[in-house]
Symmetry: C2
Subunit: 347 residues, 2 copies
C-alpha cells in the first residue's frame, strides 16, 4: 500500500502546513472552525488515515493488546477459547486498538516473551488467560507497572482473592453447580450425586463446593455418600460409577464437573444398563460442542465468554487509567444452564 496518502500530501492538497493537519487530527481546538472544516475535507478527499506506528512513536503506545494463545489440548475445555478471543477482539476494536496474539512457554521461561514484547514496545498491555495457582505472570507484570487483566484467578480461596495482583474476571463455578442442583430438584430429584476430578483441582473443588452448598440448601439427604472423584480430569480411566449404584439409595441424577466427565459417565451408565436422561439425569459444565452432539443432548453450564471478554477490556483500561498501585476489582460471572434431554423429569 505504498500509494496510501501521507500527511504531507494532505497539507499540500489543503494548502496548509503539516502542523495544521496534525492539529486537525490531534488538537482540533487550536484551529479556527473554518480551517478545521477545510482540512478535514482534504483528509476525507484523499482518504488519509494516520499511520498507527507514527502515532505510536509519538504517544509511546503501540495500540496493541497482547494475548497469549495455548496449543490445542486434546479433550480440554479450551473449545471456548476461540469465542473468548473473538470477544476480546470485538471489545478492543471498539476502542480503535487491536489484539496481538503470541505463544510463550508455560511458567517462568515464558516471561522472556512478555519482556521482549514490552521492551520492543510491540504491545502496551496484556490479557492473561489459562491462569493457574502460582501463575508467575501476575506479580511480574504488576512489579513492572504494566497494565494487564486476568481471565481466571490465581487462587480460589475467597479470603485471599484480594491478594491477586491486577483486575480479573472469572466464572463462578460454585454458582454453576448450585444452579444444576436447583434445576434437578425442580425436576423432582432428591438424590443428586457429584462427579469431579481428583481433589486439589481448584476448578473441581470450587464446583464441588457449589454442589455441596445447594444440597444443604435443598435439604438433600446423605448427599455426601454420592460424591465420586475420578482419577483424572478427563475421565479417560473408569469413573467407578458402580460404587454409587450399588448403594441402597443410588442417585437419580449426577452433576459432573465438566462435559468430558459427564460423557464418560454416559458410557458407564450404559454398561450398567441405565439410560442417561431416562433412568439417570446428568449435567455437564462448559457447554462444549460435545454436549450438543451427544445422545441424549447433555444439559450443561455455559460460560458467558463474550461478556467476560468485554468486561475484561473495560477493567484493563480502568486499571491503566488508575495506575499500577490502585486497588483492582475482580468480577465473577454466573454460568447459564443450557437444558437438553439429559435432564428429563425424574421417572
Amino acid at each position: 500500500m505504498s500509494g496510501a496518502p501521507t500527511l504531507h500530501q494532505v497539507a499540500r492538497h489543503a494548502g496548509v502546513s503539516r502542523q495544521t493537519v496534525s492539529n486537525a487530527l490531534n488538537a482540533p481546538e487550536r484551529l479556527h472552525p473554518d480551517t478545521l472544516r477545510h482540512v478535514k475535507a482534504a483528509i476525507d478527499e484523499l482518504g488519509y488515515r494516520p499511520d498507527t506506528r507514527a502515532r505510536g512513536l509519538r504517544t509511546r503506545s503501540s495500540g496493541l493488546v497482547g494475548y497469549c494463545v495455548l496449543g490445542h489440548q486434546a479433550g480440554s475445555v479450551n473449545t471456548f477459547m476461540d469465542e473468548f478471543l473473538h470477544g476480546l477482539c470485538n471489545a478492543v476494536e471498539r476502542t480503535g486498538r487491536h489484539v496481538l496474539v503470541f505463544t510463550a512457554p508455560p511458567g517462568r521461561p515464558g516471561l522472556e516473551v512478555y519482556d521482549d514484547l514490552l521492551a520492543r514496545r510491540t504491545v502496551d498491555s496484556f490479557v492473561l488467560s489459562h491462569t493457574h495457582p502460582g501463575d508467575v505472570r501476575h506479580d511480574w507484570l504488576a512489579d513492572r507497572g504494566v497494565p494487564f487483566v486476568s481471565f481466571g484467578r490465581t487462587t480460589r480461596t475467597p479470603a485471599s482473592a484480594g491478594d491477586q495482583p491486577g483486575p480479573w474476571v472469572d466464572v463462578d463455578g460454585a454458582a454453576g453447580t448450585a444452579e444444576a442442583v436447583a434445576h434437578l430438584v425442580a425436576r423432582g430429584h432428591r438424590r443428586v450425586g457429584f462427579l469431579g476430578p481428583p481433589e486439589g483441582s481448584p476448578v473441581g473443588d470450587e464446583r464441588l463446593a457449589g454442589w455441596r452448598r445447594a444440597c444443604r440448601q435443598h435439604d438433600l439427604p446423605n448427599s455426601e455418600s454420592l460424591v465420586l472423584r475420578c482419577h483424572d480430569e478427563q475421565g479417560n480411566t473408569p469413573l467407578g460409577l458402580p460404587r454409587l449404584f450399588e448403594l441402597a439409595e443410588p442417585p437419580t441424577a449426577l452433576v459432573a464437573a465438566n462435559d468430558a466427565l459427564a460423557l464418560a459417565c454416559y458410557t458407564e451408565l450404559a454398561a450398567l444398563d441405565l439410560r442417561p436422561g431416562r433412568d439417570v439425569a446428568v449435567t455437564g459444565f462448559d457447554d462444549t460442542p460435545s454436549a450438543r452432539t451427544a445422545a441424549p443432548g447433555l444439559s450443561s453450564l455455559r460460560q458467558p465468554v463474550e461478556r467476560l471478554a468485554d468486561r475484561a477490556i473495560t477493567l484493563l483500561d480502568d486499571a491503566a487509567a488508575r495506575g499500577p498501585h490502585a486497588e483492582h476489582p475482580g468480577e465473577l460471572f454466573t454460568p447459564e444452564l443450557v437444558v437438553r434431554d439429559s435432564t428429563a423429569p425424574a421417572a
Copy 2:
C-alpha cells in the same frame, strides 16, 4: 516500560555515535570487528532492543501478519481453528514477527476493515481462512499487490484451481474419504455408504467424490444406492437412515462427511436397534473433540492443521518476495485417519 533503554543511551554507554549503534544493528559489515564487538557488548549490557515501531517506520513494514477470526459457530467444525491460530503464531514468530487478529463482517463490507489495516500500516500481509466460493477478499488483495495466503480454496474444481489469486493451502477432502473407505475395506466391509450434507456444499461434494473414487477402485458393488445426502450440514434434522437399512443389501459401514453427521447417525442407528462400531462401522471427518468423547469413540479424519499453518507462512513469504504478479502455488494436505472403536472389524 518507560525505563527501556534507548539507542541514544547505548551510544553514550559505548562512547560511540548513534549511527555506529545503528550500523551495528543494521549494517554490521560497515564496522571494524572490534567496534562491532564493543557496541554489541553495550547493547547486551543495557538489554537494548530496537523499538519495532521505529524500525517499522524506517522499513515501511509493521512486522505484523493480519488474521481475521470468526465468532464461535454452534456445532461447527471451527473447533480446530484455535489449533490453526497457534500454528500460525509459531510459524510467524520464528521469523521475528507477530500475528494481529481482528474481526470483520463477512463479504464486501468486511473489506473496509482490511483497507483500514493496510492504510494505517497496522499489518503488512494477511492470512485468510474461512475461504468460500465467491470470496471477495482474494481478488481485492491481489489487485492491491498486498501479500496474502489463503487457508482454503475459492473453488474446488481442479480445472479452475489455478484461477484463484494468491497462494493457498488446503486439506484434500477426497483423499480423506478415500482413505476411510480403504480402511473399512481392509476391515472386511464391502457395502460402505456415504452420508453428506446437501448437494452444492463444496466441501461435501469433494468428500463424496473421494468416496466414489475409492468405491470404484475397490470394486464395491451398488455403492451409489448407499449415498444419503442430508437436509442440513450439521445433522439437526433426521438423516433418513431407515431408507438405507430397508435395502435388501444394507450398508455395514458408513463414511460421514463430518463428525456432526457421524454422531447424528449414532442416534439414528440406536433407534434402529443397531450399535455403531458393532453392527455398523462409522467414520467421521475433522476429528473434533466430540469424536474423542463419543461412545464408541469415533474414527475420524484429522486435518494436519499445524503443518498447514506452517506451510501457509512459508508460501506467504515466498509470494511477498516474488511480487504480486508471480504464479502462486497451492498445496493440498492429506488428512490422517484416527482409528477408534467405531470402526471395529466387520462382524
